[in-house]
């Protein structure tokens, strides 16, 4: 398939705008998984339309947020308590789990005795076989659980700490997102700027690890000039940088360890 031709056909715009046919939707979703260029193009179209919606934003009336939250809470209280399966999170129907009733067995005593013996042996076989099977599946469940837990721990490393969440939810904090430039389009740097103290924080700097002896440096664009806002490392934690005046935009460059008085590299990420 020619990816450029596919992008040029306009089908991706139709997809994002909800105009594509079912067949086109399935095809676009398939290609998006296969080709990173197509996924990036979809994201760029989404970003442009999202910016359009944000350019036309209107502030909803005060008090509506509390009203909606009250409605959400009222709804979740109405729901009855359900028993959830710990593993799958699916609801368990308690009535379904009752064992079926056993029916009787008739015949002469001898036949009964012989049959009971045979049945006993059969049942024992089945019992042991199932025990063995269960032990085997328990073992593989335990192994899977272990893998899953390790994955969970790994993904939690990137999660924000409560102190970081409260920083970004502080009303005097203004957030901005810088997007990666040529070569690292999927990178983002989240910034928090304190409107009262003028301190700037890098909340999450998701950029490629810099080469040895190099560090990322943040610049605030003030009066059309870059102002040094400090250097930062790539780690899963918020870093406090320098105080900077209200900036029109921010940009990140790659500089030698400790930073440079003036930007010397290409822009790695920028945003307003």
């Amino acid at each position: 398939m020619n990816i450029q031709e596919y992008i040029a056909s306009g089908v991706l715009e139709s997809y994002v705008l909800g105009l594509a046919s079912e067949k086109e939707v399935a095809e676009v979703e398939q290609f998006a998984l296969q080709y990173p260029e197509i996924k990036a193009e979809i994201r760029a179209i989404e970003d442009a339309l999202e910016s359009y919606a944000f350019a036309n934003a209107q502030t909803p009336p005060a008090g509506l947020e509390d009203k909606i939250w009250a409605q959400i809470e009222a709804e979740s209280n109405e729901k009855q308590t359900k028993v959830l399966d710990f593993e799958s999170g699916k609801e368990i129907d308690l009535d379904e789990k009752k064992p079926p009733k056993l029916t009787g067995f008739y015949g002469s005593y001898l036949r009964i005795a012989a049959s009971v013996a045979l049945l006993g042996s059969l049942l024992a076989n089945i019992y042991f076989a199932s025990q063995w099977k269960e032990a085997k599946s328990n073992l593989s469940l335990a192994v899977n659980e272990n893998i899953k837990l390790q994955k969970d721990i790994k993904s939690q490393e990137g999660m924000m700490k409560p102190s970081e969440v409260s920083l970004i939810m502080d009303p005097q904090i203004k957030m901005s997102k810088l997007v990666g430039q040529k070569g690292s389009e999927n990178s983002t740097v989240m910034l928090a700027w304190d409107t009262k103290t003028n301190k700037v924080y890098v909340v999450r700097g998701n950029l490629p690890t810099p080469p040895a002896g190099m560090q990322y440096q943040l610049w605030a664009i003030v009066d059309d000039k870059p102002v040094d806002a400090g250097v930062f490392d790539i780690k899963n934690n918020t870093q406090e940088l320098k105080k900077v005046p209200p900036a029109k935009a921010f940009a990140v460059t790659l500089e030698k360890q400790g930073g440079s008085p003036v930007p010397t590299s290409d822009i790695m990420a920028m945003g307003i």
């Binding site: 999202e50 910016s51 359009y52 944000f54 947020e65 664009i221 920028m270 945003g271």
Partner: protein, 192 residues
């Protein structure tokens, strides 16, 4: 880009899936303005827009498990919910009855007010200037399709252009929007 992101999208989604109230707060702070703008443009009535914004957030909250990030951004998904609820409302019988009672004059005043964007989000003024430079026919096309949910056939009828050309025209409109937004970035890049 220029949206007020306070938290990475993945983290917002995971807060929402865990039914965490902070997820709701972040969601509301970041997106209520843009969604309210969309809804208001479709229904053009304050009372209905308030109700629809409430319905939109309830639906987002209830259906967050259906959101699949591999298929698109969280905003595209939420925007579709807001748009579909609003279009359903406009097409419903009780809405058509009540809007007939509004006089022509009131309607015009409302629209003029709307043009002035008296309620506009302060944060979006810079971005607004960029989008204002979009050619009127491109802006109209984006609004018909993106906001009002026009199909390609309806666009073709509205503009009197062949169905096959609609896709190209839409691509050009979105492309022009993208070029303007990246122009904003070039200004920043020029300083370095």
């Amino acid at each position: 880009m220029a949206r007020r992101i306070s938290i990475a999208e993945e983290e917002l989604v995971s807060l929402l899936k865990n039914k965490d109230q902070r997820g709701f707060n972040v969601l509301y702070n970041n997106y209520s303005g843009a969604l309210f703008g969309v809804i208001n443009k479709i229904v053009q009535s304050d009372d209905d827009a308030n109700d629809l914004l409430q319905d939109t957030f309830l639906k987002i909250w209830r259906n967050i498990d259906n959101y699949d990030s591999s298929k698109g951004s969280i905003f595209t998904w939420m925007m579709n919910i807001a748009r579909n609820l609003s279009i359903d409302k406009v097409r419903s019988a009780d809405f058509r009855d009540s809007s007939q009672n509004i006089s022509m004059e009131q309607n015009v005043i409302y629209q003029v007010d709307n043009e002035h964007q008296t309620l506009m989000d302060v944060d979006s003024i810079g971005l607004r200037k960029v989008v204002d430079n979009l050619k009127p026919e491109y802006r109209q096309l984006i609004e018909l399709v993106y906001y009002q949910g026009y199909t390609q056939a309806e666009v073709s009828e509205e503009y009197g252009i062949p169905l096959g050309t609609v896709k190209t025209r839409i691509k050009a409109a979105v492309g022009s929007l993208r070029a303007m937004l990246s122009g904003l970035w070039l200004v920043v890049a020029f300083l370095f």
